[in-house]
Structure formats: C-alpha cells, structure tokens
C-alpha cells in the first residue's frame, strides 16, 4: 500500500471516530441538561381529563344502546345520486325489455321453423336458428336484471316488497320452477338444433313458448295488482290470492303484452338483420340479411296491427275500474304523453309502410303499384294527424280567446276517442293494403276470376272503411257508454277485412305468374336505418307507456290500498320521465349491441396465431390429436 493511500485511510477512520464521538457527546448533553416542560413530562402518564372520560363514557353508552336496540323494519332506503325510484325504474325497464325480447323471439322462431318444416325450405330453418342465437345471452341478461330488480326492491322498498310477498307468495315457487323449465327448454331448443327429429324440436319450441308465457302471466299479476288491486280487504289484508291474480287489468295486460312482445321482438330481430346487412361484405350476405330484416319487420307489423285494439281494451278496463285512473291517464297529467305516443305510433306506421314501399324496389322492372303510394300516404298522414290532435291543447292566452275556450271548435272533434279510434282503424287498413300491394309486386294472377277477386277485395276494403268512418261519426251522437262499445264493430270489421282479403289473395295468387325477379339485397340502404328506427321507436314507446301504466297510481304503491310515503311519492313530470326512459333505451341498445356482437362471433373465423399459414395445425388444444400434431 502506498503511503498516500495509507494516510487517506487513516484520515477516514479518524473522521468516522471523531463523528461518532461528537454524536455521543451531543446525546449525553441533551439527555442530561435539556429543559423539560412539565406538560411534556406529564404526557407520559395516562390522560385522565374529564373530556376524555366523557368521550369514553359516551362510547360505552352508545355500545350499550346499540346492543339493546330493538329491530324496526325500514320502510324505505335511499339509492345514491339518482334516488330509489329512478334506480328501480331503470332496472325494471331493462328487465322488462329483455324479457319481452326473450319471450317474443321463441314465438316467431317456432313459427318460422314450422314454415320451414312444412315447406321443406331449409332457409326458414336456418333463419329460425339464427334468431334463436340471439336468445341465450339475452336470457342471461333477463335473469340478471330480474335478480337485480328483486334485490333493489328488497333493499330500497322493503315494506312494499314485503306486502307484495305476503299477497303473492304462493305464486313465487311456480315462478321459479317455471324459470328452471324455461332454461331447460331454451338451451335444449338452441343446442339441440338439428340433433333431434324436427317434430321433437318443434315440441321443444312449443314447450319453451308455453313456459315463457306462463312466467309472463305470473309477473303480470304482480304489476296489475298494484294498479287495480283485488282479493284484499279495504285495509289491504289478503282474502284470496287467486282473486288478487285475476284482478281487473290482468287479462288486458296479458293480451296487450303478449302481442306487444311479438311486435317488439320482431323489430329487434329486424334491427339485428339491418346491423348485419350494413356490415355485410358480400352480396350473398346482403341478400340473406335483407330477407331476414324483411321477415323481422313482417313479424313486427303482424304484432303491431292488432296492438292498438289490445291497448284500447286495456285503457277501457282501466277506465271502467276507476274514473280517476281513466282521467289521470287520458284527460289529466298524462294526456300529453298520449300525444307523444300518437306521434311515435304514427311514425311506426309510416316507417312500416315506408319499408314496404322501399321493398317494392327490389323487384325487377316497372312496378305498377307505385302510383297508389301517394294515396296510401295521404290516408296514413291524415290518420296520423287526427291521432296526434290533442284534446287538451297547448295555446297562448290570445289563442285560447280566439278559440273561445280551451277547446277548438273543429279540433275538439278530432281530440276525442271517436276520432282516434277511427283514425287508428283506417291506419291499420291502409298499412294492410300496403302490405298486400307489396305481396303482389312482380306477380300477375293467372286465375280466371282475378278481376272479380280484385273487385271483391276492393269492395270489402271500401265497405270496411266506410263502416269504420260511419261509426266514428255516429259516436258523436250517442252517449259515452254506447260510443265505447262502437269500437267493437269497428275492430271486427277491420279484422274481418284483413282475414277475408287475405283468403281471397292467397287463392288468387296461388299460381301467379312472376313478371319480375326479386333481388334480395338490392334495397336502398335507408331501408335498414328504417328497421333500426322502428326498433328504437318501439323500445322508446314501451318505456313511455310503462311510465304511464305505473305512474297512473300516483302516490300509491298499491292503488287505494298502500300509500307511497317515500320522498318520491309524486308523479314525475313528463320531461323528466322522457329523459329517464331515453337513457334506459340507450342502455338497452348498448346491451343489445353487445348481444348482436356476441351472436356475430358465431360466423367469425377461429383465432389463429400470426405466421401460421393455411393448412398448418392451429395452436389450439384439443383440435388435433396429440399424435397427429407431432407428425405435423
């Protein structure tokens, strides 16, 4: 070691020793001679000030009080940010929308499968299977939202939920058992496609539909009981569960919902087809999804045409149960919502007609029926306007004075049910005529009695329209009870027209000559947006009408029996309600988009690692036996 290195080492050692020595001396001096405040010294001892003792006593007293606290049932609990009512509203609505879809798709999948079975046309069978593909995820989402809703009800509205349970507890077990059955049927139906004989498979589909409908009937009893309670005493004590089930609005809701579900399911399936059409790469795909969209829309319209009748029956029963409920619905706070409803339904009718007219463009050559469109449109638009005419008109003060009151001398005739009923019946006839023209596009009947058949059909249409309008006008000259009953012959004449004209048409066009080829997939793209528009409008409409049905009860959980005493015991404004419904619809379509995406994975190629060329073994366990893989 050189001398400078030694010196440096020695200096470092001395420096370290010196530092340690200074540190030790400093510690000694501070410890020994530092001034200590008495308080600081006392801090070492336990704090026995009266305040600390007081806190400790309070704590003990609270503990004892907590232990001795009796159980008190909560009436309501709060949900953060949006509040309990909106939270329940959104979850219930989402559950209902998925449930409607899950109930509807099997109905028309079964019908389409049956058509395929009878005609031997495999396309129908594949189409039914494709529709069913949308079901499995939707079923899980329905069940999840159902469970979510139940938990939310128990958590946020415990007293009310307990009351419903006390009335309907006998229905819960069958409900759950039916759910198991539904799951069994659904998955066997879906995964068993092509694995059983067609008849067995059709029976599975039938079972699925029967079980699904029964589930709906039970759930409908719970919700209709809230509007028109039955089977309980004036104080709410249960007298008969069966009477509570078959309450006043139960059957009208059952019928209305069954039909509406079909229309809704058809429209969602149509939207799925539109989504696939718009993202299709080949003409073949476009042709397939155009056809699928057409079938979806056909199902939607088929359900949609009788829907106003069912809705009218429901409204009539609500009115019959209670004038207060009836007036709240049609003449009071909700009357303007029915104008929104009329606008939406009018748009649905227009959209459905529009899609059919666009569809005529698929057929080769000049279409002789195009010239009738303007007259059909005139009918649809006129009826749409009548339906959308409000009875309680929004007007400025000067307009009210000019009108001579809050009703207009002319518009008042269009604002009441006589006019609305007539308008909707004519709308249905017009839409049906559009469908009939579409059906005939590119075909010429070959039967000898074609001319007479056409005359007969036209006569039936004209007679029905004249009869419907006559009864509509006659309704202004009779009292209300008679007027309400006039809707029955109106509806009957429209139904008669649709049935009789269809029968004539089927026979007349049985061996029709095709004058132009139908080019599936050759339809303007706007038609696909119309399909999506129809689906969104249906969903929005269901949400808004759900708000009316539920909001009718106003500050009652169970109308006239159990009062809502929560902070939300008031009817939300239409503006607020439409916002909640719109957000719910957006959430629903985001979720249904997820369902569509999942369903479309079926057609996607399996994943392969990059660089693996065609013909080589994919890196997927189980796809190739180990020995084979080794050879490859």
């Amino acid at each position: 070691m050189t001398s400078w290195k030694l010196k440096a080492f020695a200096a470092a050692v001395i420096a370290v020793v010196g530092l340690l020595a200074v540190g030790r001396i400093a510690v000694y001096m501070v410890g020994k001679h530092e001034y200590k405040q008495p308080a600081r010294a006392a801090a070492q001892a336990p704090d026995t000030t009266p305040r600390e003792k007081g806190i400790a006593d309070e704590h003990t007293a609270q503990e004892n009080a907590d232990k001795a606290k009796p159980y008190v049932e909560a009436e309501y609990r709060t949900f953060p940010v949006v509040g309990s009512r909106v939270a329940i509203w959104v979850v219930a609505q989402l559950h209902l929308l998925f449930a409607a879809f899950v109930l509807a798709v099997p109905i028309f999948a079964l019908i389409i499968e049956f058509i395929g079975y009878k005609t031997g046309d495999k396309r129908y069978d594949h189409l039914a299977q494709e529709f069913t593909r949308l079901l499995s995820v939707s079923f899980s989402l329905t069940a999840t939202f159902g469970a979510f809703l139940t938990f939310m009800l128990i958590a946020l509205y415990p007293k009310f939920t307990n009351y419903l349970m006390s009335v309907f507890s006998p229905t819960f077990l069958p409900y759950v058992l039916l759910f198991f059955l539904e799951a069994g049927f659904l998955y066997t139906y879906y995964y068993g496609w092509g694995k059983f004989s067609p008849r067995i498979h059709l029976l599975l589909g039938l079972g699925l539909n029967v079980v699904g409908t029964c589930i709906m009937l039970i759930a409908n009893a719970w919700l209709t009981f809230m509007t028109s309670p039955n089977g309980v005493s004036e104080k709410g004590a249960l007298i008969s569960t069966w009477d509570a089930v078959r309450n006043y609005t139960w059957m009208p809701i059952n019928v209305h919902r069954f039909i509406a579900n079909i229309a809704f399911g058809g429209s969602i399936a149509g939207a799925y087809a539109a989504f696939k059409y718009l993202s299709a790469k080949t003409d073949e795909e476009r042709a397939h999804y155009d056809w699928m969209g057409y079938i979806g829309n056909f199902v939607a319209i088929s359900g949609f045409l009788p829907l106003p009748f069912a809705g009218y029956w429901l409204a009539k029963e609500i009115y019959a149960y209670s004038q207060t409920l009836g007036l709240t619905m049609m003449g009071g706070a909700f009357s303007w919502l029915f104008i929104i409803q009329a606008v939406l339904i009018g748009n649905l009718f227009l959209g459905a007609n529009y899609y059919l007219w666009l569809g005529m463009g698929r057929v080769e050559g000049v279409n002789p029926f195009q010239k009738y469109i303007k007259w059909l449109l005139l009918g649809v638009a006129a009826c749409f306007m009548v339906w959308a005419t409000p009875h309680s008109i929004i007007a400025t003060v000067s307009e009210v004075r000019a009108m001579g009151g809050s009703t207009h001398p002319i518009l008042t005739f269009l604002g009441v049910m006589s006019a609305k009923n007539t308008a909707v019946n004519i709308l249905i006839l017009t839409t049906y005529m559009s469908f009939l023209l579409y059906r005939r596009t590119g075909k010429v009947p070959t039967v000898s009695w074609a001319r007479a058949g056409n005359t007969a059909q036209l006569s039936i249409f004209a007679a029905a329209a004249a009869f419907v309008i006559f009864l509509g006008v006659y309704g202004y000259f009779v009292e209300a009870t008679v007027r309400i009953k006039l809707s029955v012959p109106q509806v009957s004449s429209v139904l008669f027209t649709m049935i009789s004209v269809t029968i004539i048409d089927v026979f007349m066009y049985r061996k029709a000559q095709n004058t132009g080829v139908v080019h599936w997939g050759k339809i303007p793209v706007i038609s696909q947006y119309v399909l999506i528009f129809i689906a969104v409008t249906f969903t929005w409409l269901m949400g808004l009408m759900g708000y009316v049905r539920s909001g009718l009860r106003q500050h009652w959980h169970v109308y006239g029996v159990m009062r809502d005493t929560s902070v939300d015991a008031f009817t939300p404004t239409l503006g607020f309600a439409t916002k909640v419904v719109s957000v719910t619809v957006l959430i629903f379509f985001a979720l249904i988009g997820f369902v569509f995406w999942l369903a479309s994975l079926h057609d996607k190629r399996d994943w392969e690692a990059k660089g693996v060329s065609e013909g080589t073994v994919p890196l997927k366990t189980g796809t190739v036996p180990m020995g084979e893989e080794a050879k490859a």
């Binding site: 149960y321 207060t324 104008i339 005419t389 207009h408 009292e479």
Partner: protein, 273 residues
C-alpha cells in the same frame, strides 16, 4: 274555413296539374299550401302548437313519399341539381341563397318581437278526481258515487222534473254569469276570466264524464283542483260553501239536460269487482 285562403291554394294546385310541373315543384307547393291552409285557412285559428304537429307530420310524409322510390328521388333532386350546376340559373340561385337566410332571419325577428303575452297554457280539460272527497263533512267514494236523482228520470219523471227545475234555478242564480245563457262559456264575466270557463255544449267536455266528476268539480271548484300536471288557474269558487249537496246534484242534472248530452254512465260490466 276561410274560402279566400283555401280557394287560391286549390287553384294553385290545379294550375300545377295543367302545367305538368316537376316533382320538386309539386312537393314544395303542397308543403307551402298545407302550411298556409292550416295556419291561416280556419276562421277560428288553430293554435301554433297543433300547427307544428300537423306541419311536422306533413313534412315526414312528403319526405317518405319522395325517398320511397329511387326514380322519384332522382326526379325530385334533378331540378335542385340543375339549379346549382347550370349557368343559366345563376341569378335564381343567388336569389335563393339570399332568400333562405332572409326568411329565417325574418322568422327569428317575428318570434322575438312578438307582443308581450302570457306563457303557453296547457290547461288539462279533464283533471283526474281524487279517489275520495269530503263535502259538507260527508265522505264520497268517487269510484261508486252516482247522482242520487238520476234514477228518477225513469222511475218518477214528475219528481225528476222538479229536480231539473231546481237545477235551472241554481244555474241561473249562480253559474250563468261565467258559463253563459247557452252554457257555451259566453257569460258576461268571461272577458275578465283567464282561462275562460268550460264550454258545456262541446261534445268533448261533460259528455265524456260521469256525473260524479261534475259533482266534484262544482263542490270543490278551483281551490280543490289537484296539483299534478298544473297550472290549474281557474276562478271557479268551491260551491260547497254556497250550495247544498242536493242543489249540486240538481244543477248537474240540469246542465246535462239543457245541453242535450248524456253523462258517461257505468254499465253493469264496468262495475269493479
């Protein structure tokens, strides 16, 4: 209808027929004619809220018509394309470019410079009654409440006439000043009221209702109107402070009898279980 407005519109449409106008001209004329007819064609003007609904429906319908066939859409767009591309239409195009913003600006000016007036009024013709009311310390269930004197119409017509006469007396002593001699909301106080009273001769008012509804509205008046769905400003007093229960029922009988209307009745099948 104002024939001076409607007839020229019909003449214009007829003229187009003979001129063999193109589709664009047809659609534009129909749209404008429809707007003018609805907005100015009625002797009693249609409120702008309803005009808005009607014109929107007409616009959607015309859009549907134009776009539902490729050939039709092409025919509709062709004049517009010509206007924008052909040199001979430069002046016309410039005029359109100036005219459209001018019309929009004019409409904005018209809207903003409107005379000061009360806000839009959304009076609901038939507010919903409560499930139960108390009149003269007596509770009435609105679901089952019926006019006790209505059955006399069949059972004892003479007695019924007595009630009608009493109703007439009550009406002309109390109600005539606002509701008018003919019950068409044209009483002498009408000009001071906002909104003006209900027109009972209108088919859309009392004929839609059960008598219990009128009993509720007469006895409770403006102060007894429900809060939901307001505003509910009405000058009608609560007549329960001035009339007996029987007098209210009598005047209900008279109002229906005088206007020749029948109350909404419950039939047997409508009664709640």
């Amino acid at each position: 209808m104002k024939l001076m407005v409607v007839l020229p519109l019909l003449a214009a449409i007829l003229a187009l027929r003979f001129m063999k106008a193109n589709l664009f001209t047809w659609i534009a004329t129909i749209w404008v004619a429809f707007f003018i007819a609805v907005r100015f064609g009625f002797s009693v003007p249609i409120p702008s809220s309803v005009v808005g609904i009607y014109v929107s429906v007409a616009s959607i319908a015309l859009f549907t018509y134009v776009t539902s066939d490729r050939g039709r859409l092409k025919a509709f767009v062709a004049p517009l394309v010509r206007l924008m591309t052909e040199k001979r239409y430069t002046m016309l195009l410039a005029l359109v470019v100036l005219l459209v913003p001018t019309l929009v600006a004019g409409n904005v000016y018209r809207t903003m410079s409107a005379a000061v007036e009360g806000p839009f009024f959304s009076r609901t013709v038939h507010p919903a009654p409560p499930a139960e009311i108390t009149v003269h310390d007596k509770k009435f269930d609105m679901i089952t409440l019926q006019n006790p004197f209505r059955p006399l119409e069949k059972d004892n017509p003479e007695q019924f006439k007595v009630h009608l006469q009493n109703g007439r007396k009550v009406y002309y002593q109390n109600c005539v000043f606002c509701h008018g001699d003919s019950m068409a909301a044209n009483g002498m106080f009408v000009h001071a009221l906002n909104p003006i009273p209900t027109n009972f001769t209108d088919k859309g008012t009392i004929a839609m209702l059960q008598e219990s509804f009128l009993f509720w509205r007469i006895s409770k008046g403006g102060p007894g109107l429900p809060e939901e769905g307001g505003p509910w400003d009405t000058a009608m007093p609560a007549w329960e402070h001035f009339l007996t229960e029987d007098e209210i029922w009598d005047v209900v009988l008279f109002v229906y009898d005088f206007t020749g209307q029948r109350p909404r009745a419950r039939d047997e099948s409508e009664k709640p279980k």
